[in-house]
Amino acid sequence: MILRIVLAGLLCLGVTVALGWAVLERPMPVENLPERVASAMPESGVEHPITAVLLNFRSYDTLLEIAVLLVAVVVALALREAQPDQPEQMGLDNPLLRAVMAWLLPLILVVAGFLLWAGSYQPGGAFQAGSVLAAAGVLLRLAGVTTNWLDNALLMRAGLALGLLTFLGIGLLVMLPGVPFLTYPAAHAGTLILVIELTLTLSIGLTLLSLFRLTPPYADDPDDARPQEDRNL
């Protein structure tokens, strides 16, 4: 056991030193990416370079990322325990939290909307806004507010897939005039990106929230591992 730790420590020390050396001796990039991004900004439809990279120049990455999120939540749905997810099971029956949530919720929603809108000209965008939305949902859950509307299987799945489907749909739609996949026309790029970001925000928020909801606190005894009555989610 001691030998194992020592060996692991030596190995990791070696890896760290090698990586540190590699960072010091790295070659300068040949391609001047900041300049290329800056020169392509006028046709991107947004004013912030990171949003332009995320949703225009390298939108393939973002598309696949949304696909990864969807796969993660689908697998989690398939593996979930058949157990009722009741508000009282969250175990935080705190009147103070509920009262504070009543004040905070509108603010959180406004912040999410602002982040989404701000993404076109300053740091912000769909991921940040989606995370804030999910945080609002998690807080609601912890405060014991019922989120049964999320149990509607069809609506829930439609919401989870909305972002990816819209992204794919717009990517395919712009192919009609004969340009490659996901190449937005410069004139409409801003609108298309806003539509994509809006649906992405909803889907990301729902994805993170349902990943949280899928593991309610529960007696986690291994002996208790028998399926209860099945439930639609």
């Binding site: 760290t16 790295r26 990416l33 900041p34 120049f57 990455d61 993660a72 325990e81």
Partner: protein, 98 residues
Amino acid sequence: MSGSLVFAWSGVLLFGLGLFGFIAHRHLLRRLLAFNIMGSGSFLVLVGLAQEGRGVDPVPHALVITGIVVAVASTALALVVFRRWYRASGRTDLPEDT
């Protein structure tokens, strides 16, 4: 020594610490935490090295924000899988393959 190098070396240090935790610990939750620390380290390297020489490079920044969201989702998925494993087997670690 430039500022970006400090970030990159901190990232390398985090990566090494995470790697050590990943190897040294057997409990699955500890391993997941260690893996996340490794991921944070590599994000820090990407972001740190992105802002040297020719000004801020937005491409690695966009990659990192994509990576963060994927890391959160995969961590949640791993937790679901671990719970399932614990319920099925009663163990918090994986069996040794000898």
